[in-house]
Symmetry: C2
Subunit: 277 residues, 2 copies
């Protein structure tokens, strides 16, 4: 669920969306694609629900992968929907629609979808197992629920500049203070079992993302600097007393230094589950 | 470099080797294989050096991948060599030989090998950049140096039982006290540049390993319990005052509990570099 300033222009991504919009099905849902392809062979008219779709870049690539299927993309934040529609239009896909919805109470009948997917959504929730239970409810028997969540505690940044160490602690603390889980990736299986899935019907895998080329590092640092400089992280962090102006300045300085270093990189584990409904 | 009790029988793997012998080129050197295949197209007689080969399971699978090539596998510990030869014999490969050697002073002329490889070797060394410099020295111009190292700080274990939290801290401390680096994976690029590689000639990637099926978890827990119960970790840890009998018992208890949990898994990031010589 992208956090977006309500005052933003719909066609201009907010600071946080710079990162979110790097995502597509190939880099963020590769663990689902083989199953998707094999389901498509027996039924090209698959209905896929993308929960917490944000600006919809992953949803749009699912729409391309399922030209005869239909994608329903939902997000808790209604302000992101115009941006998501613009992203889909720019991608040239029409087999998709967007609506506001809360994953805790999805406005869909039982067994509505063949595939229910989320990415980097459960990590922000205080009761992720309830969300998975709801995702299982709206999924057809024989369908799948697929989730991929980062495990922020495994974030590996080099060089370990002091401002980046502070950033990591601050970001984890901020996530926890909002009810989120910085170790979501490793807990997905556990949440799936709490949501009622049988162990034998859950396939577990782990993926990575990393940035180490100059252009990827520039994009990554630019996005983080934007949220630390004037975005929601600054405001929320200062309001909650989790950081100081001085620390925020050090974070900005060190992300700039990091991006300019020849030996820098950032990588993180993602947990992945595929639940057979 | 496997740490092996000198008194062990050569054909019976020591406790630590239970893990090491799960490794092969497919699961531990996948990032090298496409380059290996393309080099093999122009020269089937490739010479590959595997540094810190331990019991040689990765070396043996390189030997299979290069039937007309030749593998030289070295390890600092001469006591592992009989085991490594037995592994190669069991794998049915003969285009391989093993010898004792120190990566800091490799007994080979400059430009002897087309591919020089190591896995989980630099993480144990106090001057990994010197090892990479030496690996570059023995590699032919046009050849490659490939390294893959775990990043132990990213180890993600669930459930986070108290004994496993203690185990993680203890293992990292033990590694550091022996001169090793628990964040090796993220530092590989930095070490390569210190060793004299040009940034434009280093390709960076990150991989994962994880255990989450019942049989993999049983193997993993059995291996760790063996080293904590009576292997080198217990002895070294107690001698260095890094742990207590009580803590070690708690670690054993909780690895057993972990293996028996339906929601358990362990995953870790690995850093990978390919240096064009």
């Amino acid at each position: 669920m992208a956090e977006v300033n309500p005052s933003q222009q719909p066609t201009v991504p907010a600071a946080q969306a710079i990162h979110h919009e790097l995502r597509n099905a190939e880099n963020s849902a590769a663990f689902v694609l083989p199953t998707l392809q094999s389901m498509k062979m027996s039924n090209p008219y698959l209905a896929l629900l993308d929960v917490g779709a944000g600006s919809g870049t992953i949803s749009a690539s699912f729409a391309k992968a399922l030209p005869d299927g239909h994608i329903t993309a939902v997000d808790l934040n209604p302000n992101i929907l115009p941006r998501a529609r613009a992203v889909a239009e720019a991608a040239g896909v029409t087999n998709i629609d967007f609506q506001q919805a809360d994953v805790k109470k999805l406005p869909f009948a039982d067994a509505s979808f063949d595939i229910t997917f989320c990415h980097q959504t459960l990590t922000h929730m205080s009761a992720p197992e309830d969300a998975l239970r709801e995702m299982l409810r709206v999924t057809k028997p024989g369908g799948i629920v697929a989730a991929r969540e980062g495990d922020f505690e495994t974030e590996a940044v080099w060089p370990d500049l002091p401002g980046l160490v502070k950033f990591h602690r601050f970001a984890a603390e901020l996530m926890r203070s909002a009810g989120g889980t910085p170790t979501a990736g490793r807990q997905l299986l556990s949440w799936a079992l709490e949501a009622g899935a049988e162990r034998s019907k859950v396939a577990v895998s782990f993926g990575t993302w990393s940035y180490h080329t100059q252009s990827d590092k520039d994009t990554w640092a630019r996005g983080l600097i934007a949220v630390v400089k004037g975005g929601p992280m600054r405001e929320k962090g200062l309001n909650a007393g989790l950081t100081t102006e001085g620390d925020l300045d050090e974070m900005i300085h060190d992300w700039e230094k990091w991006a300019a270093s020849s030996d820098s990189s950032v990588a993180m584990l993602h947990g992945e589950i595929l639940i057979q409904r």
